[in-house]
Each structure stands twice: as C-alpha cells, then as structure tokens.
C-alpha cells in the first residue's frame, strides 16, 4: 500500500511544483516571486521526505534541514532588500 501512496504523493507534489513555478515565472511583483520560491522550498522538502521513505535511505534528510533554514534566511533577506528600496517590478 505504501508504494502506491508514495507514487500518488510524488504526482501531487510534481503538480504543486509546476503550479508554483507558474507563479514564479508570472510574478507580477518581486514579493510574489519570493512567496513562490518559499513554497518551492516547502515542496522540495516534501519531495525529500517522500524519497526518503521510498528509498529507505535517510541521507537526504540533512539537505532538508539546511534547505528549511536557508529558505527562511532568503525570505528575510528579500524583505529587508524590499524595504530598503529595491526594485519591485522585477
């Protein structure tokens, strides 16, 4: 049963990845793209989790730890940059 579920979840996550990439490409403002990037990271962490279960190897979990931390730093950095007067229409 778990194998079927893993495949279904891979499918769901791939769809989510494509959708958030649409928002990343379309914008229209920089904050929109930042939000899309953040969701991309969440989905990537989800992918890593599902892959860990599918392959029974936990090596990739460390990547998930680092990703979840750096995504936060990136969001804060972008917010600072915006408030200090960066361009906002790209």
């Amino acid at each position: 049963m778990l194998e079927i579920v893993v495949n279904i979840v891979f499918l769901l996550l791939s769809l989510a990845l494509v959708l958030s990439f649409v928002r990343l490409a379309r914008g229209p403002t920089l904050p929109d793209r930042v939000v899309a990037l953040e969701l991309l990271v969440s989905i990537t962490v989800g992918f890593i989790a599902v892959h860990t279960i599918a392959s029974e190897r936990a090596n990739f979990l460390d990547v998930a730890v680092v990703l979840s931390l750096t995504a936060f730093l990136a969001a804060i950095g972008f917010a600072r940059f915006l408030e200090r007067g960066g361009h906002r229409d790209d």
């Binding site: 049963m1 778990l2 579920v5 893993v6 279904i8 979840v9 769901l12 996550l13 769809l15 989510a16 990845l17 494509v18 959708l19 958030s20 649409v22 928002r23 403002t29 904050p31 929109d32 930042v34 939000v35 899309a36 953040e38 969701l39 969440s42 989905i43 962490v45 989800g46 989790a49 599902v50 860990t52 279960i53 936990a58 979990l61 460390d62 998930a64 730890v65 979840s68 931390l69 995504a71 936060f72 969001a75 804060i76 972008f78 917010a79 600072r80 915006l82 408030e83 906002r88």
Partner: protein, 138 residues
Amino acid sequence: MIELFWEVVTSALLLIGGLLMLVAALGLVRMPDLLTRMHATTKAGALGGGLTVLAVAVHFGEAEIVARALAVMTFIVLTAPVAAHAIGRASYFVGVPLWEGTVKDELKGRYDAQNHQLHSSDEAAESARRPDARPPEH
C-alpha cells in the same frame, strides 16, 4: 498488525501533506493578490511540509532520524509565520496593490515612508506628518 497500523499512519500523513501542498500551490496561482496568496501558501505549505516530514519520523522510528525530522518540522513551522510577516510588511510598505475585492484597509496611510514608523491611528500619522512634529520617541 502493529506494522500495518504504522503503515496506514505513514500513508495518511503523506497523502494529507501532499494534498495540502497541492492546495497551497493552487492557491498561489488562483488567488488575486499577494496577501491572499500568502494566506494559501504559508499555512498549507508549511503544514504540508511538516506532515510529510512527520511521516518520515513515523515510518523509520529510529532516534537519529526522528531527531532530524523533528528538527526540520520545527524549523518549518517556526519560521513560516515570521517569514510571512516580513514579506507581508515589506510588500505593503513598497505599495504592492491589494485586490479590488478588498473590503477594508485600516493600515492605509499609516506608514511613515521616511523613518519606517507605523502609527497606531490616523491622528497619530497626521500629527507626525506636520512640519513642526517632534520625532517619535522609542
């Protein structure tokens, strides 16, 4: 029997997590303005990521993997609202437009563009804008 139980729990967590992330991505595409998009992504996205990682912890049940999975979960769940606040504030500050269906905006005009102060009422914002105004105390 016990193994089957844990397998069901893992599958359920994975499915709910995946569905939540799909909902988040759908909301990201479908919602009309930035703040409503953030409603969809920050909660459903973070919760979905947290649940899939929790599924890993349940599936393996070994101390070192559980510890790492819990670390990822805590990071995601703790940082999501803070990042949402930072981006929401910054986007409002630079004037990203709100959706035309927005019914009310009590924050409008209360930011001070010069010194990044946020006033608590329209009167305070007005008096700070006057030329003879004293700088706000911290």
